[in-house]
């Protein structure tokens, strides 16, 4: 079966700095893939390229049979890729449910004219959208928090709201940038559960950037390791863990060891 996502020899330079250098990567549909690597390795840059925040300096990105690199952000979203952010970027002065409703934008039809007319069809569609949004919030464990301003949610809740908003797009591929950053072990476990359910219940393909080895090893079926903008290893969690170059890349950072020991 053809991969759902295919990154082909992609590079991205910022002025003098090469953040990504000739990265290639295939992702199978309905898999959970981890991207790991030391800080500054280029992981977030890869996500920014996949979602259109940045354009590649060279290389191609193919998603479900069509080329998506260079498309504007909203076209990539429409193609079926959505994401969360390492530094949470919610619409902080909107409520939780409004955040999710914004995520449904592509699946709603109301325009200025129908909004002003307020015909029953429009009202019903809006009502339905709200029900769907409530379901998405419940899915992410945020039931009952609908009308809270995003900014007033607890940190872990904000991370989950980003996921609720991302699934509201009904994506085929979801990119999670350090979803457990700053979480305690209990919260991380809940997050692992949520990530699995994204794939198992919603059938979404997941790519995940993660620092906690416990999470990576626990949830990812396949791992790509980046270092200094290059892929230094790929494979199953056990293969990667025992890869000499990976161990070297992590030497001194202590991440792999301490993470695994947690």
């Amino acid at each position: 079966m053809a991969p759902i996502l295919s990154v082909r020899d992609v590079s991205r330079r910022f002025q003098g700095l090469t953040a990504l250098n000739g990265v290639s990567l295939d992702v199978e549909e309905s898999s959970i893939v981890g991207v790991i690597g030391p800080n500054g390795a280029g992981k977030t840059t890869l996500f920014n390229l996949l979602t259109g925040f940045y354009k590649p300096t060279s290389g191609e990105i193919w998603f479900r049979g069509s080329r998506v690199d260079g498309l504007p952000l909203h076209r990539i979203a429409a193609a079926g890729i959505s994401r969360t952010f390492q530094n949470i970027r919610l619409f902080s002065n909107m409520t939780a449910i409004e955040n999710v409703l914004v995520g449904q934008h592509l699946h709603l039809q109301t325009n200025i004219a129908t909004a002003v007319l307020g015909l029953p069809a429009t009202t019903n569609a809006e009502q339905h959208a709200v029900e769907v949004a409530v379901a998405h919030l419940r899915f992410a464990g945020l039931g009952g928090r609908e009308n809270e301003l995003a900014r007033n949610l607890a940190y872990g809740e904000q991370r989950r709201l980003e996921i609720a908003r991302a699934i509201a797009l009904r994506p085929k591929l979801i990119l999670l940038d350090e979803p457990t950053a700053g979480m305690n072990p209990g919260e991380s476990d809940a997050m692992i559960g949520l990530i699995r359910r994204l794939r198992d219940e919603l059938g979404v393909t997941v790519i995940l950037i993660e620092h906690q080895m416990r999470v990576v090893m626990g949830v990812c079926e396949y791992i790509t390791v980046l270092d200094h903008g290059e892929v230094i290893a790929m494979g199953t969690p056990t293969e990667v863990q025992n890869d000499q170059r990976v161990i070297e890349a992590y030497l001194g950072t202590g991440h792999l060891k301490s993470g695994a020991a947690e």
Binding site: A77, R83, F91, E98, V102, T110, N111, A115, L149
Partner: protein
């Protein structure tokens, strides 16, 4: 940073009072006061407004209206509240002389314009300093295609179109919206300050075009002898009648703006204002939605222009100066950005109050300052604006979110100071 501000007197809406009010609201008696208070207030307001001119003169009447409206707008959210409010506003000026009615007309007109600009600035977060351009488009369109003998415009004399007010209204709406889109296409790539400067330039360009394109516009000699709106065989020609026309248009605009705001479109605008890139990553075509906001704001501005042309019976380029854009923006900001109800209050304060202050004088013991209102009203007004922005930077009736945003900014400043 918080230092000196702490020593200013606390406005009635500051936290301790608000909390006391909230506690009162939770008691059974308090709940009833809040539920029925607004409706009980209406007859009181009506009576006060009806009697006030006899006892106090215009200035006090106006202040009473202002205070009552403020209270009413703060606590009433319901449709009935809005209906009563509209009715009160419609009936209020019947007792006024024509000078006062003209003030009320201006208040209503700037409410309408404020609702338009608020879509652009308050909803979509695009700072537009050239709003007067669309106002001018509506006004000149009216002058060009209604007047049998439109002053110095050769074009109008040649073609002599002669449409009526009611036909021009929708045409101005569409034309202004189109021009809004045309302006938007090149400038919406810009963000923040740059957008403000370019729109400012656009407003000026339109005004200059009105002066130089005298084949069409009559140049500095303008266009005049414009007809009044026909209405069942007669013409609406008093300030009060035209005030009612604007009031109805403003009501329609409020209604449309609120519905759009609470729809998918309004959410998209709000998302763009919050974080444009993320909004885009949610599938929102930000260019299209920014253009929509621009077009809708412009459309309402164009409608306002038609009304002012009909009211004045003439149009001249200086009528469409930067000052109009600034005043509309002040209405939106003072009233409370993003909030439609606040705009009415903003218009009363920014447009009404300076005129009402015209005949203000102080005669107290040895102090006799006649007409300080006339001579210094703009100074007083400017000082009042500064005071408002210092004490209530979020405006008088902000949307809840705006309050939150300003709190956030304050907290950040405090954090940075420590």
């Amino acid at each position: 940073m918080p230092g000196w501000r702490q020593h200013l007197p606390r406005p009635l809406t500051s936290a301790p009072y608000r909390e006391a009010l909230a506690r009162f609201r939770e008691t059974p008696a308090g709940a009833n006061v809040f539920r029925f208070g607004p409706y009980a207030l209406m007859p009181v307001l009506g009576a006060a407004a009806a009697l006030a001119p006899t006892f106090f003169g215009t200035r006090m009447t106006f202040l009473i209206i202002l205070v009552a409206l403020y209270v009413l707008l703060r606590i009433s959210d319901s449709l009935i509240g809005v209906a009563i409010l509209a009715l009160t506003l419609a009936l209020l000026p019947t007792d006024m002389n024509s000078f006062e009615q003209n003030i009320m007309f201006n208040v209503a007109l700037f409410t309408l314009l404020g609702i338009g600009l608020n879509v652009v600035v308050g909803y979509a977060g695009l700072l537009d300093l050239g709003f007067v351009a669309f106002f001018a488009v509506g006004a000149y369109l009216y002058a060009l295609i209604t007047a049998p003998d439109a002053g110095a415009s050769e074009w109008a004399q040649t073609w002599d179109v002669g449409l009526t007010f009611w036909a021009v209204l929708p045409m101005a709406l569409v034309l202004a919206a189109l021009i809004g889109v045309l302006l938007g296409i090149p400038v919406l790539r810009l963000r923040g300050d740059y957008l403000a400067i370019v729109t400012l330039g656009f407003g000026e360009i339109i005004r200059i075009l009105l002066t130089t394109e005298d084949y069409y516009t009559g140049g500095p000699r303008g266009m005049f002898l414009l007809p009044k709106p026909p209405f069942f065989g007669r013409e609406l020609d008093t300030a009060y009648e035209l005030y009612l026309v604007v009031l109805v248009l403003a009501l329609i605009a409020v209604f449309a703006a609120e519905r759009i705001r609470n729809s998918r479109v309004g959410r998209a605008w709000e998302a763009i204002r919050e974080d444009e890139d993320v909004a885009s990553a949610m599938g929102i075509d930000t260019t299209v939605y920014k253009l929509l906001a621009f077009a809708m704001g412009a459309a309402i501005g164009g409608v306002g222009g038609v009304v002012i042309a009909a009211k004045q019976g003439s149009v001249f380029p200086p009528d469409f100066s930067l000052e109009i854009s600034i005043n509309v923006l002040a209405v939106v900001i003072i009233g409370g950005m993003g909030n439609v109800r606040g705009i009415l209050l903003g218009a009363l304060l920014v447009i009404g109050l300076p005129d009402v202050l015209r005949d203000f004088s102080i005669n107290f013991w040895a102090i006799h300052l006649d007409n300080i209102g006339q001579d210094y009203r703009l100074v007083i007004f400017g000082a009042a604006l500064v005071a408002v922005m210092v004490l209530r930077p979020e405006g008088f009736l902000p949307s809840k979110r705006r309050v939150a945003e300003f709190r956030e900014a304050d907290l950040l400043q405090e954090e940075m100071a420590t």
